[in-house]
Amino acid sequence: MATAQEKLESLRAARRSSSGVSAASILSVSSSTLSQAISSIDNGKSAVIIELGTKFTKLGSAGETTPRAILRTEYINENGVKIDANEIFALNDRKKAAEKPVEYHENIISQFFKFLFLKALAPTDRPFIIVESVFMSIDMRNAITKTVLEKLRAKSIMFMPTHICSTFAFNSSKALVIDIGHSECVAMPVIEGVTMLSEFESAHLISGKIIEQRCRELLKEHGQIDEINGERRGLNDTDFEEIDSNNLIETIAINSICIGKERAQIWKSGKIPEKELLKEHVFAMNGKNLIIPPIVLETPLEIFFDASLNTQSFDKTLPQMLFSIVEKCPIDLRKSLLSNIILIGGVSTICGLKSRIKEELIEICQNAQKKYAEDVRFYQFSKLKNYPLFGAWLGASLLGSLRETVERKSISLQDWKSGKLAEDWTDIIDKNV
């Protein structure tokens, strides 16, 4: 039945296209193959894709599968002062943005973009695609648009939300996308290419920053220093200064693992589990050895799952968050969501996180007597473990290879000067209202 329908459709299409063939269009038949060949040779003006993350900025060229560069989101300004991500993204934070005039923030953004591009990619006359967080502020968008179009002289600019981009690579039409980044976790379903915003959940508690904070606390509690004379002692403030100068907290956070619930209970009760997963780690530091015991590497992620550790905020734990998203969704989708999970963001590369999420989801669903978690599955590339680092970037890169779509969706310098703003994905909603 379906094939007959398709045939009919293609016949109709054939008639539509063939009915208007003239001498000129016959000519264009032969020339369009030629022009296609030319356009595939000259991929010089392919779009520039940037994903701005709070920790890392990924940049590269459209149609490629690996970013040209992944850089830290920070730069050193002309006075030799390091400007970090908090200041670059200050416009996203309304309270912080109000402290200084918009021009000040715009200047920082333009300096950051110059730092990114004048070192490596030559961006002039190329379209830009910026992978944005769904909650990027309008001021921030406008500042980026202004910089890219006016200062970097790009051909055009377009914004793409992270969550939808990350589904492209898997060619999936139905997914629950969980983006665990350095500053926050935003999870929402993407169904048939539509970001279901009203079903979103976010938490500042589930983030790389919090893992680093936990690592610091655990290291303070359990870490030890081996002096040259063989003496062992706890850590003091000067040790932490040295640790920070080596960026060691970040390294520990990246290398931490996510253990099963049973094992976590044992650690929590103050006992040491029988089976050893990781060995004690020794880090040489200015003539003394820093001992990192296994508990520091094994338990920092417990804060994602254990509500009793969270004393600062009212954020939900990760399984609770996912469960409530599923609950909010229409009944037809509920069962399929948890078998189509996409995990992106740097934190998702941590070993054992996926199996722990599965374990917790099964438990929470059992307690609530729901059958959502019968088949928990994750989209993943087994050959590319670091995929979550640039997952959204990759999706945007695939999209960026579609020239005409990019051209249609983006705005140029002329449009910008005539007062048009970059197309926002919420425009569709606004127009419908």
């Binding site: 009915s19 269009s25 149609g63 970013p67 004048l118 002039t124 990246i254 928990v376 599955r377 590319l384």
Partner: protein, 410 residues
Amino acid sequence: MSALLQSFRVKYECSCGKFRNLSDLHFCRQCFKIKCEECACVEIDMLYCARCLEASTVPEARLKKNQCFNCVECPMCMNILSGRTENDKFFLICQACSWQTREAGIEDRDSAKKWPVYENEITNEMNDVMNHMKKLEMIQNAPKDSKNRKISKGWSAHHLPNKFGLQSMVEKKRQMMFPDLTPLSVHEPEEPLSLEEELENRYKSKNLRTADQIIRQPLASSDQPLFPVRVPLQGRTSIRCDECERTLVKRDYGVVAYKFKISAFAREYVPDIRISRPVQFENDKTSHVLLTITNLSSSPIQLKISPQEKSRDDLVECSTPPVNISIPCSIDTDTAGVPAEKSDVIVFRQHNRIGLNFDFIPNQSNEHFLALSLEYTQNGSFGLLADKSQNTEEASSKVLKANVIVQLHN
């Protein structure tokens, strides 16, 4: 040198409103405006490897993926790796952290160049997805094309016998507009690996892998050793005026060349002001500052220099009236050693340099700035304009302005 001369104490106002050192500014000869790097257009004019100094043009760099194919860095500490030979075979070693390519399991090679790097394993799969998306795009756009074209109902290639091979052309065209779309299967979601399995596969190393090591080669999974990293190319920039699009600074071809093909630095067009002696402050009493003004341009300058009124708290009040002087250019050697005329303001004249004395009353705060405005005309500097349509006479008699702020305190 700038620290020794303390040239940062005199700041010129750029046309964008920011105050900068004269050495950081450019001057557009067509717009008669001072431009800084921030308000002018900075563009990459070529890329090069900072290690082997091999230059590549922008399209070349794009093909090379912005990496040098010959030079590699240590994946651990980012220092340059150097080659060693053993039994006529090469291996690489890092002089800083003594990391070796042998540690990563790379066999010794016949050549010191071309070391293996990780390839993206999912490229083929992504290409399939990309092609699928392209087909979808074509279908989305095709009906629009056919709608735009005027439809003549009387003639259709379908009615022709396939005598002239037209039929196949039409068929081809249709194929291109509406490609056969076989749905591409979804990358199937998988069961997660257990922690034990993941840990077992994890690459065992003495050191923990840092974030910098990971982002420099994201294709190396946690179960693989790190390979030498290709050195990223760096960009060399040229500067253009943002208003008239003319080039202000362009370097000579070749990375090692230090000359400029085109250069329009502000110091060649704007009088250079410096503080000559340390400034002595006496509270609430008239103090003096000795400024030297140098004409580094190729033609004499008629200069009117006048102190600005005290508009801000940190400015000092200057009692010296505006001074009109003419400064010869450096090429004119005739004027060497002209004795200073008897004046309270002009202290000395020497070649293309003039010493001026300004009286001021220090303000109450700790910061003392002297604001000056310059009005000057140059006779010859614009005679060699690239754009002949502009009247050179008009250009030479044009009164140019510049605002300067001098920091008097240390």
